[in-house]
Amino acid sequence: MKRAFIGCMLLSGLAWAGALYRFRDGTPMAAAQVNANLKHIHDNMVGQHGARLVDGDVSADAGIAHSKLRNQEKVPVAWGYFGTCITTAAGTDCTNQNAQGLSNAEASPGSAGADGYYTVYFSSARPNTNYAVIVTPTGGSYAVCYATAKFTTYIEISCQEVTGFVDRAFSVLVMDSP
């Protein structure tokens, strides 16, 4: 009876505090105390007992890999905004860049001095050239920007108006299978 009372008190205490009971050598161990500790762990921990995991359980620095998501290919592999691309010289980096999965964009080496030709480099090489790339101008009027050729390590992009090729700021989004 006394043990049951202690057990009940213990359980209510654990439920409130969310803490474990500390056992002491030389002190009789009650099954209720052991059960309370097991129950606390069993009822709170994640795994094989339904959908318990919530956002608060995930470390702010967890960095869960996209490969662990379902249909990971639906997560973009790269995107970038390249705000100022002036093709004054081949290989000149665009400025005002913001990108993920893309290291940089530059005036296309093969089109020195020509307006509207750019090369955007991947941070890591793609496994093949079957990726989808969405390109759109982000400044100026009447221009369109598009990928002219796809490579595993870079994308060639051009921007042009009906009157010819023009320098434009542009944004890129890349989708690919793993």
Partner: protein, 193 residues
């Protein structure tokens, strides 16, 4: 009686011992320190209800966590496709380089130049209501221009009923406005519900 209790506890905890960090209890007198150690290990290591403990290494390589369990799942595209080439033969299949969430891509049923139908794996979860579209398709042409004439590709129509799962893409010559067969890439976002 006490020994029987110890035995039960020992066996129970021994069965719980799933990691090498647990002390392996044996029959006989049970030391409180060993029991506390094992409880502490479980309580302080396992994930659930005790703060943000989960890290990448805790997630199985094949976990396959559904996107709808992420916050703001609508930020993850629902479909994309890269088309290498399409012909003007009515309803002929385009050459798909790679895709996800797309069943097929064909020339339109009338055999027009530059009009393609991209069929999504499933229709949108809800229809498009005026001023509150549930699907956002984004398409661009890709491939070197012919001369100075850029080709423009756009997703002109998109699913507007539960039962519709086709995005229409049109490509045309920027200078002349003429519909033109061309390679294109398409990404589709959807407001998940």
């Amino acid at each position: 009686m006490k020994n029987r209790l110890f035995l039960i506890v020992a066996v129970l905890l021994a069965n719980l011992a799933i990691g090498s960090s647990l002390y392996s209890l044996t029959t006989g007198p049970l030391k409180a320190s060993y029991l506390n150690y094992n409880f502490d290990h479980l309580h302080n290591s396992m994930v659930g209800g005790h703060g943000g403990r989960l890290v990448n290494a805790d997630v199985n390589t094949d976990a396959g966590i559904s996107h709808h369990k992420l916050k703001d799942p609508q930020l993850v595209p629902k479909a994309w496709v890269s088309i290498d080439a399409c012909t003007t033969t009515a309803s002929a299949s385009c050459t798909v380089a790679d895709s996800s969430g797309v069943t097929s891509v064909t020339a339109d049923s009338s055999g027009n130049n530059g009009i393609y139908l991209v069929t999504l794996t499933r229709p949108p979860r809800r229809d498009n209501i005026s001023g509150s579209a549930s699907v956002a398709p984004i398409a661009t042409a890709w491939g070197a221009a012919t001369g100075t004439n850029a080709i423009v590709c756009r997703a002109l129509y998109f699913p507007n009923l539960y039962t519709e799962s086709t995005v229409e893409v049109r490509c045309w010559n920027q200078r002349t406005g003429t519909l033109t067969d061309w390679a294109f890439d398409l990404v589709v976002f959807e407001e998940d519900v």
